[in-house]
Amino acid sequence: MDELITKRVKEVLNGNQDAFEEIVIHFQHRLYQVCYRMLNNAAEAEDIAQEAFVRAYVNLETFDQKRKFSTWLYRIATNLCIDRIRKKKPDYYLDAQVPGTEGLDMYSQIAADQRLPEEEVEKMEMKDRIQYEVSRLPDKYRTIIILRYMEDLQLQEIADILEMPLGTVKTRVHRGREALRQQMGSM
């Protein structure tokens, strides 16, 4: 499969835009899933996954053909997701007081989907529960847990995608796994 993708990449570089379609078909579900798990929102996931393919197409010349194409594609997608998540983050402090109120801090203003009440969580279907628990993970563990469990990637490949030392990836898998265990246990 890798050989076919390499061939298609060369064709696209030679000006054949249609050859890119096969690349998109091949990777669409994997890339969409990463974005969906990262962003926890179908519309945003579709937008970002499409954007990732467009960026890959536009910057295809910078892709080092000696390396794995999927690694490069995943890197583009995860970076776009992380940027999107950062932009969504509110730029105020949660324990700052809400103006015009007395003793009411921002924790009381968080939208319901950030942390659901226990009984709501217990009623969830397992697949929604899993998605919810992943979305609650801190950013730096979330990406790695998604790539490890949901995309079923090797630790070394994750290290290549995120351009991180293998040791850091292992540590984060361990901490992410432990965090998930506690989240599942506490509910």
Partner: protein
């Protein structure tokens, strides 16, 4: 309850990563047999792992590929010079260098419209004409640009007239070579020759030294 060694938790994760050595696995198994807390922790971690690994994959919505293809910019026609430049940076640099160099050659030919000549003590200048008077001997080379040269006396060296005419009286003597340059290519050739002369000591000089 005895405090469990910290490396046991580390071994649990190594086990789940599939990166545990057989020796470490033995230690872990032995510890789990004797420690209920660690056994429970290991089971929870394994359950979590299974749960998250086996979650159904999410599929991209239908029409995803078509939407991507519609969003792509028009294919960039890079068959032409841009691609060639990118693939042969050294050749591109050399070509650019040649273009700039030749431009400076041609522009210097076109722009040097001013009358100029080699300063020699015993020549006379009338308007744009340099005269070597009869009976005088000019020692060394003589170059006249954008003007005429009339030789009645003797020049002990090379004579070059660029964009001008050379008149020789019957009494004129030129010991060296003599040339008139009018065209761009002659000019170029002259430039190259003079550069070569500076770089390589001329064979004529060698001969004269030998004599």
């Amino acid at each position: 309850m005895e405090k469990c060694p910290k490396h046991v938790v580390h071994y649990m994760h190594a086990f789940l990563d599939g990166e545990i050595s057989s020796e470490e696995e033995k230690i872990l198994t032995k510890h789990l047999e004797s420690c209920e807390d660690c056994k429970a922790l290991m089971e929870e971690l394994e359950q979590t792992e299974t749960l998250f690994e086996n979650v159904a994959t999410v599929q991209a919505p239908s029409g995803f590929t078509n939407n991507v293809m519609a969003r792509l910019p028009q294919p960039i026609k890079q068959k032409g010079p841009k691609k060639w430049l990118r693939q042969h940076p050294m050749m591109a640099a050399a070509a650019l260098f040649l273009i700039l160099m030749s431009a400076s050659f041609f522009s210097s030919f076109e722009n040097e419209q001013q009358f100029s000549f080699t300063k020699q003590p015993n020549i006379i200048v009338e308007g744009e004409t340099v005269i070597v008077p009869a009976g005088e001997v000019v020692k060394g080379d003589l170059v006249v640009k954008n003007g005429d040269l009339r030789i009645e006396g003797e020049v002990d060296g090379d004579v070059t007239v660029i964009r001008g005419s050379k008149y020789m009286a019957s009494t004129a003597v030129i010991t060296g070579s003599s040339e008139e340059i009018d065209e761009v290519f002659d000019w170029l050739w002259y430039k190259i020759k003079s550069v070569a002369k500076e770089v390589i000591p001329s064979s004529k000089d060698d001969k004269s030294n030998n004599e």
